[in-house]
């Protein structure tokens, strides 16, 4: 009897093998039906060729093309071309002269900065942070140029508004001008920069930040900035650097390295840095390391000028009531004035 079952088992086995055979046959049909997606070699090489073009060179060519001579392709119907504040060529050179990138001996100027600044002992009662007079650019021009006058009028107007605390938010008109002006700009920094995007002043795609980052930490993010190949990078860092770097000199060297790396990876980029803001008085009284902020800022100012990076002095905008609860970050009011100030500094009407 069991050889009967053995025969059946063998027969069953053949059937299952047959089924597997049938399935493999169907697999073969399937493979033929969807046989490999084959890109064409020649075509792929052309696409790769396009991809390997050097972006900075392309950007250079595109940005420098002579827009003034309007091409005939403009349609007959008279179209008012929206006056985009294109930087005319000669304006660009004066603002950001191409500094000969030389090895700057950091030690020597730092001491000098130290001696000038009143050394604030951490235990001292909180003195009012030295109101920072708007430092003139190092090369002292003879009488105040038109630019300084405009800056001073602007500051006077907004200082008064800040004191009365009636800083209205940006109108649509101002918002659009800011977007137009900073279309090819990247805001780079720590949470002070993140706030710019979070508050909605500029599209998040133009903000690259790393929270609680020191300048060293930002150096690692430079490739991300480089990938965008921006025309201009505005650096805005905060008090993390005070507790990260023991002395202002370390901070200055780090900042110099940052600037050099940026220029190396993004040829022809314009760099600006916003001042390092002091902590609020309340916080300053408890945090000895932060209270030294003005020293760091002064050195930042000095180093920036040495490196040909435009230093934007925003300390005058600070008001105690505009600090957030943590005493480090600023609320929307500060940034409203900050952006208008930027618009003034980088606008065409200077």
């Amino acid at each position: 009897m069991n050889n009967h079952y053995k025969k059946l088992m063998r027969k069953a086995f053949h059937l299952i093998l047959g089924a597997i055979g049938f399935f493999l046959f169907v697999t073969l049909l399937y493979v033929i039906a969807v046989s490999g997606k084959k890109p064409v070699k020649a075509g792929v090489d052309i696409v790769k060729g396009i991809e390997e073009q050097n972006v900075p060179a392309l950007l250079q060519a595109i940005r420098q093309k002579d827009v003034t001579e309007i091409d005939v392709t403009v349609p007959t119907t008279e179209v008012p071309i929206y006056s985009v504040p294109e930087k005319t060529t000669e304006e660009a050179t004066t603002l950001a002269p191409e500094p000969p990138v030389t090895e700057i001996d950091v030690t020597e100027p730092a001491d000098e900065a130290l001696t000038q600044e009143p050394v604030v002992q951490p235990t001292d009662p909180p003195t009012d942070p030295p109101t920072q007079a708007p430092t003139d650019p190092i090369e002292t021009d003879p009488p105040l140029t038109v630019k300084q006058i405009k800056i001073q009028d602007f500051q006077a107007e907004w200082n008064e508004k800040l004191d009365q605390n009636d800083v209205r938010n940006l109108s649509n008109e101002e918002q659009q001008q800011i977007h137009a002006m900073f279309m090819n700009t990247i805001f780079f920094g720590d949470s002070m920069t993140q706030a710019i995007g979070d508050y909605g002043f500029i599209d998040m795609s133009q903000v690259i930040y790393k929270r609680s980052a020191s300048v060293d930490a930002l150096i690692e993010k430079i490739p991300e900035v480089a990938a965008v190949y921006p025309e201009r990078v505005i650096i805005f860092v905060g008090l993390n650097n005070c507790n990260f770097y023991k002395t202002p000199e370390d901070f200055a060297t780090a900042f110099t390295a940052l600037v050099q790396k940026l220029r190396e990876q993004i040829p022809g980029v314009t760099l600006c840095v916003s001042s390092l803001l002091p902590p609020s008085d309340v916080l300053g009284s408890t945090r000895a390391d932060l209270v030294r902020a003005p020293m760091y800022d002064a050195l930042l100012n000095h180093t920036a000028n040495m490196l040909g990076v435009e230093y934007i002095d925003a300390k005058w905008i600070v008001r105690q009531q505009n600090y957030l609860k943590d005493g480090i970050h600023m609320n929307r009011t500060f940034y409203r004035v900050w952006f208008r100030y930027l618009q003034l500094l980088m606008g065409p009407n200077l």
Binding site: K11, H14, L15, I16, G18, A19, F22, F23
Partner: protein, 463 residues
Amino acid sequence: MVFSSMTYLFVFLPMVLLAYFIAPPRARNMVLLAFSLIFYAWGEPVYIFLMLMSITVNYVFGRIISNNRANHSRYAKLNLGIAVGWNLLALGIFKYYPFVSSQLRGIGLKFIPGMKLILPIGISFYTFQAISYLVDVYRNKIRVQRGFLKFALYISMFPQLIAGPIVRYEDVEKQLSKRKVTLAMFGNGGEYFLRGLIKKVLLANQLGALYVQIESLGAAHASVLTAWLGAFAYTFQIYFDFSGYSDMAIGLGKMFGFRFPKNFDYPYTATSITSFWRRWHISLSSWFREYVYIPLGGKRVSPRKHVRNILIVWMLTGFWHGAGWNFMLWGLYYGILLLLEKYVVHDRIARHPWPGRILTFLLVTIGWMFFVHTDFSEMLTYVGHMFGIGCTFANATTGYFLRTGLLVLLLGMFFSTPIFHRLNEQFAVNYYTTSIALRVVMFMLCVAALVYQSYNPFLYFRF
């Protein structure tokens, strides 16, 4: 869980087969019961408790009734009434209360609380099973089941739990305690299961997809012929879906040693409505005949009362299929047809069967249109299209559906007749290897259709 699903075929079934045939014979009932409860709880994790309650309550009622009969208690009939009443109440609340309360509230009786209850799957089946058990115990047709586990297994055995057939206790009484499964019997079970699976997955689902396409046609594309095509598609879909499911249930029963009664006997070859209902869902119509029609006096009453009995039985049959006016209409439709046959047409049909078959098939097809449309306006428009109201006789779309649906409709026609069964009888046994190879390929096609899973409806949510 549904038999035609990946979860069942490749997770549940292998596990239950393994556990069942490894377990010692004494423990097999226990294993089958445990798996049946898992099978039910998989889709209804909440209503499993309602079924368990129903099982316990009916077990105790069974013992009470048999006890009453033993002591010739005066209350025997009353206790039976309460026992059956409890089951009908449970079915009534979950299946009909939402519908009834919404109708009553609709006509102004606002104080009736409208409860939104989801219908538990299979409640109609196991409730009717319990009622037939209690009445049979009362009539001393069967000996009461003393073992609670065996009784629970009788009610909740997974092959027949969700969509029947409504198994009478007397059919499986002996098998509950002693049953044997030989390889040949298991193979026979496999044959039934495969036939059911093929009917459901390869025929019913495709016909269903065809019907859905036709049903969703806007008035612009509709035409008389297309409407009839859609009606035939649904007629075959519900037959292959339901008879396929019953075949799978019978097949699974055989695999575990049970013999369930046949539920379908090629109903679309019936020459008259009466014989159609002797071939369609046999276990249900025999249940109604046994426990409603005969107690009401059946045929042995005056013609006037007989008409009343027929109408009541068929309204209830229709209403059993779903809580909706259209189901009652469907039941009434058949009640009237049966009366016409009995009192007007008599046996004149029997003399020429072919016109009888065609007429019966057309009447049944129209019947299904009442059955499928729960919304009256949709029903009227569709049936109207079938009779040329509001659309042309035929148009390009008819050509499209004829081309794409003709083969599956022809297959449907072919497989709803016993021709294949007779051919299979000789052919399969003599050329057994090739016929089993054919079954393997068909099984693979079923798996392929289930893997792609584009259209696999579960029609029993209303039953």
